[in-house]
Subunit: 399 residues, 2 copies
């Protein structure tokens, strides 16, 4: 057994500008909320806060679903919640895979006992209804899973046309909105989504730790008519419904302070207004795009219409070393951007403009820093060109 250390270092995390795939920049008001005094998980004030938080989550998801709440764990647990509640052993499920998170959903589904059929598309591309038609006819899935905002590639998947097809085939639709929620329109009711999950650490400007989820009435009927218990006690929505619903039956001890943070992050979004918030994400993406174009950096997603505004996956210029450049961004400028995953490792950087990180000051800072480091790496770049191009976008939009 080790002996006790005589002194334990103080906690002094460095100040970072978080522009990776998440966690993203936290709004100062959210950090303040996080440190408010803890109350009990059945305190009248907390029950009221849960109601208000649920109500705001419904407005953010654009749904009237009763079963809308935050799972007491991070986004991947939200994915697992949607899958394990809907799937019983032997159920057929189709999962659309064009990046890490589609692949993860297939893995989660197999662990839940689903007979999984994967539909694959190259990384950086998205699914068209035609890609699913024949598989839906042969696999006859109970559930179809798809990622709206593939954080590993920056690809934006249109949900509505897929949803139509899935429901025509008699299946339920599960959507990953971890990176999209709060940064672009997510229309749960209008798009007829049956189960959806997100995370707090992306466009909600809140630390990681909770996963907002919503399940439709139709999905909950499937859950309530299961032949077997949900395999996860912790993620069983029938029990969670008794705590988040009017009965307030004790299930687990809710992460009180994280709920404070989530509530404050939702307040910030609705104070700004959903439309303005989405517009801000769009504009900063355009400014970044033009800035990067000025120094010859291309997006991993070829089609402009398929690019996410909040997650910009871009190709690493030839002759530039991935890890040393990211490390220099971090050490010299305090900026974090993300590396590529899987086949994109060493090929792609992921630049997040999510929530509170989606600001012109961040775009200009990153471009200034990146330009300098690329010039030092020997690339033929005109100093100041990326910043000038980005500024031109802001000016053109009257900002």
């Amino acid at each position: 057994m080790r002996t006790l250390k005589s002194t334990l270092p103080e906690l002094n995390p460095p100040l970072r500008t978080l522009m990776g795939p998440g966690p993203s920049a936290i709004h100062p008001r959210v950090l303040e909320a996080l440190a408010k005094p803890t109350v009990g998980h059945l305190d009248p004030s907390y029950l009221e806060l849960m109601d208000r938080t649920q109500d705001l989550l419904r407005q953010l998801f654009r749904t009237d679903n009763a079963m809308t709440m935050a799972i007491s764990a991070t986004g991947s647990a939200g994915m697992e919640t949607c899958v394990v509640n809907l799937i019983e052993p032997g159920d057929p499920m189709v999962v659309c895979v064009n990046g890490v998170f589609g692949g993860r959903m297939a893995d989660v589904a197999e662990r839940a006992g689903a007979e999984v059929t994967r539909i694959e598309k190259p990384w950086g591309e998205v699914f068209e209804p035609g890609d699913l038609e024949s598989v839906l006819a042969t696999a006859k899935p109970k559930v179809v899973g798809i990622v709206m905002a593939e954080t590993s590639t920056g690809a934006a998947q249109a949900i509505e046309p897929i949803s139509q097809l899935v429901h025509d085939a008699g299946a339920l639709l599960v959507v990953d909105a971890v990176t999209s929620l709060g940064g672009m329109p997510v229309e749960v009711d209008a798009w007829n989504i049956d189960a959806i999950y997100s995370g707090t650490q992306k466009c909600l400007s809140c630390p990681p730790g909770l996963s907002p989820v919503s399940l439709s009435q139709r999905a909950m009927e499937v859950v309530l008519n299961r032949k077997t218990k949900v395999q996860s006690w912790y993620l069983d929505t029938t029990m969670l419904a008794n705590y988040w619903g009017s009965d307030r039956v004790y299930h687990h001890t809710a992460p009180i302070n994280m709920t404070y943070a989530l509530y404050e992050s939702l307040r910030l979004i609705f104070e700004e207004g959903l439309e303005s918030c989405f517009e801000r994400h769009r504009l900063n993406h355009l400014a970044l795009r033009d800035g990067l174009a000025a120094i010859g950096i291309e997006f991993a997603v070829r089609e402009e219409a398929h690019r996410l505004p909040m997650l910009n996956a871009v190709k690493i210029p030839t002759g530039v070393e991935d890890a040393p450049l990211r490390r220099a961004l971090l050490d010299r400028f305090g900026i974090e951007i993300g590396s590529g995953l899987g086949p994109f490792a060493g090929q792609v950087w992921r630049i997040g403009l999510m929530g509170h990180a989606s600001r012109s000051s961040n775009v200009l800072l990153l471009l200034s820093a990146l330009e300098q480091l690329l010039i030092e790496a020997g690339l033929a770049i005109e100093a100041g060109s990326s910043v000038a191009a980005a500024n031109a976008v802001y000016v053109a939009h009257g900002k």
Copy 2:
């Protein structure tokens, strides 16, 4: 679709003295840590913090287990982690049930596909080795689960003699230490525990949100030699080991700020010293016990040696209404205590003296308030008698 609210109320949680079964009082330094600036989950500073946190968790669990870490969810997810990693469908498991949390472990095990044999004891009692002998011989379990500190009854289970028996029978031992860890000795290596879990919101003086767990080398060999994948992707220790270990392979986005809080709470414990911390919990329990005895309130656990110091389950005096009294404690004095669960509902109150809540000022405040409310309820109690009895304990111990 509802229309947007024009004004959203500010977050203003009331100040409570948390003396229930958890969440317990949070130390101010832990709340400060929670609000420190967020960094990325692969930031060099965060990886270093994970190492330091793991090291302190090993010291707290009194183990050299490599697989010691915090699960990114609350205590019940820690329970699920231990069970689903060790159990494959059809595996026999014995669960000792003498309260809510033993029952929960049996439920979790059944959902994981275990053939569960329950050994039951009345609520408020504990298990002797003789209670397990014949069942171990007939059920031949792969895993035995037991609760060290049954939060629903306040009973303290001795682990060492049970562990001997379980290992003689060739089984692995899973221990629930949610309420005990940090408030009384928990000796993972000396007691030969194979898998153990806890929560941050009890004796660690930290908000709910993380679940410290530790698995022995023997347990990890069982996990690594499974025939089937762990049913939960989120709780799969083989993947978590790659993130918490030296490889740092991305699994899920860790709840950064909760790790800050956990680290600070561990620093506080080791600054005080483990032995002093346990002694403080013991002393405040004795003072509370004598104070309650002076006003005729009895413990639900008859045997003194089987009472937890940090969770005092006491019988509600005849003629006193449960919910109105607890509500008066909350509304007039700002004190939260816990209600009884299951067969103890309406019969028992649960008074927590956990971590930062285990202070003489809390004991004296609660006794003063409770005494007053019981007098108002018509009980023949001498005003000041409970406080005097508690103070006598502190004086006798030179405090």
